[in-house]
Symmetry: C2
Subunit: 462 residues, 2 copies
């Protein structure tokens, strides 16, 4: 059954590239100002693909003002686990059209890659699900487990109606395992599974000393400058080596476990690689001690000032500003408490405010980190499947950014473990011009999915 | 001769308020976008006033694209000193028309004050010169010394063509003493003479670490945040008490002399007065040690960050900025070297830049301070005149802001001492809405000028 499925997918490789190209042809951008009708057209194209591969109960769902989700299932494996497969059919805007080497909504193959908006993010995810299911249903006529598919239509604009959707359709979506095909591989050809996401605590800080700005010549001297005061506060946030200097901030950080340690070490992600990828200027130091860059990006907290403003370049006058404003962002990791981090940050800033200046610290966001234990049998099973599909050992990686819905999604499904996989690679330019997909990785991802259904079917239902 | 002049001016008090009102009626704003013809109309109105008071060689002068200056003289006191009287006939824009309680270009008297744009700054200066000269010429038919008047038409927009003008007309303007009637009194009814102006060193500082901004989640950790780096640099600029922390910065500061010390002490300018006038928020400390606020504002250096920008409130995203920019301003005092201050500032900032970030410090301006010795006989003579005219002891004050042309002006006239006087008081709102002039002070200033010609006529020409 497995071998027949694998053979099918290799034989029909070209066909599913064509199916992906059809999906890419629909400019399904959910951002304000883009035609909403394209989202419906896109959902219908996805539904058509699902019907073709013999999925059942194919339908468009929505809630409130949401763009259409596409649902489908195949539930004829009684006693076997149910896996919920997620992807999204909406895409980013195209950016600068002049920078595209081929039209964004005409999938174009060049040197082993398929170019087009959504080719990688995330229409490839839809095709991986469909192709791997087709491989079973078109050969054995059945799958080794039960599958449900949910393809969202507004992920790129923040999945705002998703909580409401999950609530309304909780029963329909119920599953034992959640597979989110919207991430990427650490390197082309090296399968990766994301086992942690960082959270984010954002705070707006306003420092003021006077009721109005003052002429810096006429008044300068006795009055504290809010920008200098804010500088002293911000300077206190990190130490000489670039570690966060808020006392106790590292206390709750969960150490890397054995699987993470080994996997991170295997990536060969050195300071030199980071320096090049991040575009660091010559002579600028890598900060934060000796941990590897991936460890720092994925599983250690970091702090940055996302914006700071007092007056402006254009209106710059010889003044002492009445106030200075900035937004500070702290990235959190398992098992830090967002609430506690915000309180520590606010207290630390206030404690370091000099000269009695007035300080206001307001919480903007406190999105959760997400983390899972990669030594759990589900992840081990998925890891084996990826290793088989790609012919290379699967890596367990983290993602430094947040995908806020992963935690709530998993929770809404009764705590089902979430597997974060995907076909993007470092050259995909997912949110930029000339988005592309490695066609070799697409095929490997489909083969991995075939193996994954097989692997997961062996798991006992909890 | 003196008494007759004083009687004349008291008798004709109303007349010169009317003359001032005529000048106020012309909207002579030299800012871009305002009708240039009004500057010519304004200059002609000034010329008419000067002709009426029997001044000679009344003419409009200009150089290059300058707005018209008005020149006049009376030079029939051979062997006596020549004083050059300066004021300007251009005004600030009106600001928010809705905030004006009476039309800005219709001089309106209310409760002893005359409201209108330019009533204080600086059409009053023109009228003080004209009225005090008229007092002599209309009674004795002569002045006790020689006078030249030069009334500028573009002071509020930065006197850009003034250097060229001074060069072209150096011979015409030659004088022994320069009286600049464009300052103000420390309190209503208390005559003040400005004996020092602060200079200004402005520097643009740019800190960068990467070729482009980075997603703070995906990349945050290993790379130094330019805003945090800049914060550490700016934090190093002042110490806990708010003193400038650039080593040696206070070394060249000229201590207050006896006249300044006594005069500052006599003003009763306490921290509480400063706190109220500056609009300081409750709980905010007065910084910079125990010196009086006027000492700090006028004769000690100060530092402020006039603007700081990385990203913006509107576009604030979860990023590590590629760079952070700010403008730092250091106010200088006698006998600091602007060049040296810039070098010290740049070196100090670079020395405190952490993590190898790239720092660029660019000089924007380095305008000179100006200071004079108030114990010189010219100032003592002027002080006596002010004391007689106001019936209150004249104060020697400083001004914290710069009037960049005072030094060059004095230099262009062969080093003639410059007397900075004026009729503005703390309620004049000179650059704001509802500009006004205390009519009592106008009369006192005219009487002081009459005394001043008398006093200065006794000086030996150098």
């Amino acid at each position: 059954m497995l071998d027949a499925a694998l053979r099918f997918t290799d034989k029909n490789r070209r066909h599913f590239v064509d199916e992906l190209s059809k999906l890419v042809a629909v400019p399904s951008c959910a951002f304000p100002g883009f035609p909403p009708a394209e989202l419906t057209r896109s959902a219908k194209a996805v539904a058509e693909l699902f019907r073709k591969v013999a999925l059942e109960h194919v339908q468009l769902l929505s809630v409130g003002k949401s763009f259409p989700y596409v649902y489908a299932d195949w539930l004829h494996a009684p006693g076997k686990p149910t896996v919920l497969l997620y992807a999204h059919h909406d895409v980013q805007p195209v950016g600068d059209l002049k920078k595209w080497k081929s039209p964004p909504f005409k999938a174009t193959a060049r040197q082993g890659r398929l170019y087009g908006r959504g080719s990688a993010d995330d229409k490839a995810g839809i095709v991986v699900h469909a192709a791997s299911i087709a491989a079973y249903l078109k050969t054995a006529g059945k799958l080794p487990l039960n599958v449900k598919l949910i393809i969202e239509g507004e992920e790129e604009v923040g999945s705002e109606t998703q909580p409401e959707f999950l609530k309304k359709y909780a029963k329909l979506l119920k599953a034992d395992v959640l597979v989110i095909a919207d991430s990427g591989n650490h390197k082309t050809g090296v399968p990766s599974m994301t086992t942690s996401l960082r959270g984010l605590v954002n705070a707006d800080v306003t420092v003021s000393s006077c009721r109005q700005s003052l002429h810096s010549g006429m008044w300068g001297g006795p009055v504290p400058d809010p920008v200098l005061a804010l500088s002293k506060m911000l300077a206190s946030l990190s130490d000489e080596k670039g570690f966060i200097a808020i006392p106790g901030i590292y206390r709750d950080v969960k150490p890397l476990n054995k699987v993470e340690k080994e996997s991170y070490a295997s990536l060969g992600y050195t300071d030199a690689v980071y320096r090049k990828q991040a575009g660091m200027l010559p002579g600028v130091s890598i900060i934060g001690g000796k941990a590897s860059p991936c460890h720092k990006m994925w599983r250690l907290p970091s702090v940055s000032v996302n914006a700071i403003v007092a007056s402006s370049k254009k209106d710059c006058a010889n003044i002492i500003n009445d106030s200075a404003w900035c937004r500070v962002g702290v990235r959190t990791v398992p098992n830090m408490s967002e609430e506690k981090v915000f309180k520590m940050l606010a207290a630390h800033l206030k404690k370091h405010a000099p000269w009695g200046v007035k300080v206001e610290v307001r919480k903007v966001t406190a999105g959760p980190w997400w983390g899972t234990d990669p030594s759990d049998e589900v992840f081990q099973a998925a890891g084996r499947a990826l290793t088989k599909g790609y012919g290379k050992k699967a890596a367990y990686i983290g993602t430094g950014g947040s995908i806020p819905f992963v935690g709530p999604f998993s929770k809404a499904l009764g705590g089902a473990p979430a597997l974060l996989v995907g076909v993007e690679d470092p050259f995909s330019n997912a949110h930029s011009e000339n988005e592309s997909l490695d066609l070799g990785d697409l095929q490997k991802a489909i083969r991995s999915s075939i193996h994954m259904y097989e692997e997961l079917s062996k798991l006992k239902r909890k």
